[in-house]
């Protein structure tokens, strides 16, 4: 009789261990939310620089972003003079200016400027 008891206790322990393991394997699915590179909150209530400066110097700003953004990776954040933080990305510009499909093209066509942005970036003119 005693031997049987001991056997049962052993079986129970084995069962518990198996359960524990199965639970352990089951926890894989739910992952903690990725502690993603701290994205700069898109604050685009006004432009990166004052309008007048952007009229004459937007190409320098974009050139700087183009050269530095990829290499800075998660830290590719532009801080404006009034402390707003913007992701160095053409889509940051297009978040506002994309609403007017001809925003870039009307001037560039007039000035015969042919930047190669749209070789890769999808221009507002190409979006449906």
């Amino acid at each position: 009789m005693r031997k049987r008891h001991i056997l049962f206790i052993g079986l129970l322990a084995a069962l518990l261990m198996a359960l524990l393991f199965s639970f352990h394997a089951g926890t894989e699915g739910e992952a903690p939310a990725s502690q993603a590179a701290q994205a700069a909150a898109v604050d685009s209530s006004s432009c990166v620089y004052p309008k007048e400066y952007m009229h004459t110097h937007h190409m320098q700003v974009l050139e700087d972003w183009k050269n530095t953004a990829a290499h800075e990776g998660p830290d590719a954040v532009h801080e404006t003079a009034d402390g707003r933080k913007l992701q160095k990305n053409l889509s940051t510009c297009l978040a506002c200016h994309g609403s007017n499909r001809y925003f870039c093209f009307s001037c560039h066509a007039y000035a015969n400027a042919q930047p190669n942005c749209w070789n890769c970036h999808i221009s507002p003119l190409e979006t449906p």
Binding site: E28, G29, S34, Q35, A36, H71, G73, P74
Partner: protein, 252 residues
């Protein structure tokens, strides 16, 4: 009698030899030459912090399913080019034995992508510095700077870099507006979804997998899900003997 003894001796000695060889091969390869040890993910002094890594549980990866690949290629505007030379792939499925070596028991197709090595040979080979390792462990390409020399393709031991022989726009049917395409004459490869991470999202393959077979997380964080899995299971890496320290792991 004499003849029988000799035969018996040879038989026994032969069996002993076979057993010895079996044990030796078991001890030598089974001892973990290719199998991942904690050294594969432990932070090297001076590079603590964030290091993104990915783990495929191939036991959960269904045969013939390509949802991860489709989702990856759609979100990143990877063109669908049929020709073998012109083919562009950020992610693909390959025979597990060919991918992971003889320790991989199954020959079923296993997903493969850029390994985002801690010691990337592609970054060493790039003459313009357009392929580089970011501070979060992602090996990224600056497409603006790439001159299309294909040194990275030659140096990558995993063959995970593709070259745009033709204009990829022509082969794109339904582009994703949020992500740029590439142009003719640059290389491209998986970016570990750095564009999605910056928005606090998980990589698109992880989200697309219906079986939850792909885990993604910080390899340097002992409490992350991927670290728990790495510590609790036997994992493999692709060609770990080369010392590139890949950040992609496989449970077979």
């Amino acid at each position: 009698m004499m003849k029988n003894d000799r035969r018996e001796f040879i038989r026994k000695a032969g069996m002993g030899l076979l057993a010895g060889m079996g044990a030796a091969s078991g001890l030598l390869t089974g001892g973990g030459f290719e199998r991942t040890t904690s050294a594969a993910w432990a932070a090297v002094p001076g590079e603590e912090g964030l290091r993104w890594g990915m783990l495929f549980d191939t036991r959960r990866c269904p045969e013939g399913c390509t949802l991860c690949i489709e989702s990856c290629h759609h979100t990143h505007n990877v063109p669908d080019i049929a020709s073998l030379e012109g083919k562009i792939e950020w992610m693909h499925k390959e025979n597990g034995r060919e991918l992971l070596g003889s320790l991989c028991a199954s020959t079923a197709a296993v997903p493969a992508l850029c390994n985002h090595c801690a010691e990337p040979s592609c970054a060493r080979a790039c003459p313009t510095g357009s392929i580089f390792r970011r501070t979060d462990g992602i090996v990224a390409i600056d497409y603006h700077r790439c001159v299309g020399c294909r040194s990275c393709m030659q140096s990558c031991p995993y063959g995970e870099v593709s070259f745009n022989w033709s204009d990829p726009r022509a082969a794109l049917k339904n582009p994703t507006v949020e992500y740029p395409t590439r142009q003719r004459g640059v290389v491209e490869k998986c970016n570990f979804c750095s564009d999605r991470l910056v928005r606090g999202k998980k990589p698109s393959c992880v989200e697309a997998c219906p079986e939850g077979a792909i885990s993604f997380g910080n390899l340097n964080d002992p409490s992350s899900e991927i670290r728990r899995l790495l510590e609790s299971s036997e994992t493999l890496q692709r060609k770990p003997e080369l010392g590139t320290r890949p950040s992609v792991f496989y449970i077979i």
